[in-house]
């Protein structure tokens, strides 16, 4: 049964040092506010799972919170590289993060397998790909019916998944719209889930019958955080802050500038600050 909580309580109750944690959002609906709360609470030794670990994982890696990343695209989409992640991988600063690298198809299938309660994902993939040689979790399986050799990887079963979504109703059911990405599978694959939303409405009587809705009993915790995806976006509420993604490239390029930025914008900030960050992005949405 979904519980409405403060962000501080939701993160404190659901995340632990050493957890396998996913903060998911396929470019859209990235739970930045939840990740910033996790940074403020100073968790350690996390195995961070995400298809597209962009700016927010760059921040968590740069703050020394991650032991390992499980991912399929380690970049700032449309901008370039993740400079804090590079500093970790190439120079061991602040420490070396272990990488388990997959393709998007692999990660998507692994989340889906996790949601479906299966131990593995089976798909046609990694043919001729170098990842199959460097990632021991990429194996193959032979179809018992046709003899076709297929890729097999373990299901993803995070201890906790965090996502952002548009809205919850008063019972705690959650509506996800637009590029829904892997949000549903990330929640259903995880043991616990925290969903931050733009707003809480009375009911979903006005939404289409086939909308993507996560029932309240499938979610652990719900937190209302307007603007909580920024600089990612929430379809129908505010647009992606592309300028902030471009700016991040400069901030993350310098260790001191990064530390200063994190202090000012994360460590000394609050979840309520996110609403102000999207104020100028709402009209255009």
């Amino acid at each position: 049964m979904a519980k409405f909580q403060s962000l501080r309580d939701a993160v404190a109750e659901n995340l632990n040092d050493g957890d396998v944690a996913a903060f998911e959002g396929f470019t859209h609906l990235i739970p930045h506010a939840a990740a910033h709360e996790a940074i403020r609470q100073g968790f350690k030794d996390l195995t961070l799972v995400r298809m597209t670990p962009d700016v927010v994982y760059d921040q968590m890696v740069g703050m020394g919170m991650a032991k390992k990343l499980i991912f399929s695209y380690l970049g700032n989409p449309g901008v370039g590289l993740l400079r804090r992640c590079r500093d970790s991988v190439e120079n061991g600063y602040p420490h070396t993060v272990e990488l388990e690298e997959h393709s998007h198809a692999g990660m998507a299938n692994a989340y889906e397998a996790g949601a479906a309660g299966l131990p593995l994902a089976v798909f046609r993939g990694y043919k001729g790909a170098g990842l199959a040689e460097v990632n021991p979790n990429i194996k193959s399986i032979t179809c018992p019916f046709t003899g076709e050799k297929l890729a097999a990887i373990p299901a993803l079963r995070p201890d906790v998944s965090f996502i952002h979504a548009q809205k919850a109703d008063k019972k705690g059911n959650v509506l996800v719209e637009g590029i829904i990405g892997i949000q549903k599978e990330a929640v259903l694959a995880a043991k616990r889930s925290v969903v931050t939303v733009e707003e809480v409405v009375d009911n979903f009587d006005d939404v289409h019958t086939n909308c993507c809705i996560l029932p309240q009993w499938a979610i652990t915790s719900i937190v209302e955080v307007p603007g909580g995806a920024h600089p990612s976006y929430a379809h129908g509420y505010y647009i992606r802050d592309n300028a902030a993604y471009l700016e991040w490239d400069k901030i993350a390029a310098d260790r001191d500038l990064f530390a200063k930025w994190m202090t000012e914008n994360v460590l000394e900030a609050t979840p309520e600050d996110f609403a102000g960050r999207v104020a100028n992005l709402r009209d255009a949405s």
């Binding site: 396929f26 470019t27 859209h28 298809m51 597209t52 399929s72 695209y73 380690l74 970049g75 989409p77 449309g78 901008v79 370039g80 590289l81 993740l82 992640c85 590079r86 991988v89 190439e90 690298e101 393709s103 998007h104 198809a105 998507a108 299938n109 989340y111 889906e112 798909f123 046609r124 993939g125 990694y126 043919k127 001729g128 790909a129 170098g130 990842l131 460097v134 076709e148 050799k149 637009g178 590029i179 829904i180 990405g181 892997i182 599978e185 993507c212 600089p231 379809h235 647009i239 992606r240 802050d241 592309n242 300028a243 902030a244 993604y245 700016e247 960050r277 100028n280 992005l281 255009a284």
Partner: protein
Amino acid sequence: MSDLDFTADEMMTIAASRALASRDVCFVGIGAPSAACNVARLTHAPDITLIYESGTIGTAPDVLPLSIGDGELCETAVATVAVPEMFRYWLQGGRITIGFLGAAQLDKFGNINTTVIGDYNNPKTRLPGGGGAPEIASSCGEIYITMKQNLRGMVEKIDFFTSFGHGDGGNAREKIGITTKGPTLLVTDLAVWKPDPETKEFTVVSLHPGVTREQVQETCGWTVKYADHLETTPAPTQDELKTLRDLKARTKAAHEGTGKAA
């Protein structure tokens, strides 16, 4: 038509766009491929189906997306599906005719590296990695590649096989059980290349206007081969150039216009 009032970059995008047709269902990589695909849609291929890996099918953005998941891709799409569905039903299901990819490193057989420069476990440069590319390269009907030529990018031997092209040439794809065609076209800022039917090595079939063989060789890390009948790529038309420049101008305004300064 002999007025060369266009850049090599513009020629590359426009030449790449000409390879696409309205009947194509195209999985679009971000960057140069995205520009080419949208120029095609806005000129000679209005009914082309453009698909981005965020799940947007049949999208028609007014500006080029910065990321594969910008909101406009969804707003203008025929349908937006979840990412597992995208990769399972649409890509793995064999419903996509062309995958259009960029590359950090490319070899003469169309194998692509976007993962690391140097050793995988101790890289000199850690690049973003493959994202959707490993399965795009094997599941789409055929693969088009577009990139600017330089010695760091076009190399004799890539550091990592992010996505498989023609391996070491010949029937390498068939040998590992891949049934799709793989790379059939490479468009650079200097030339149009196609694989040799037998060896599968990329061969220059057309030089862009004003480009010399020396320029192509100087910016390519392998010994360049040329087709017997080498053509000259037709220069961009006024319509193509205007479409591309307008698109770039709208994109620039849109990407710089958001954020704190607004």
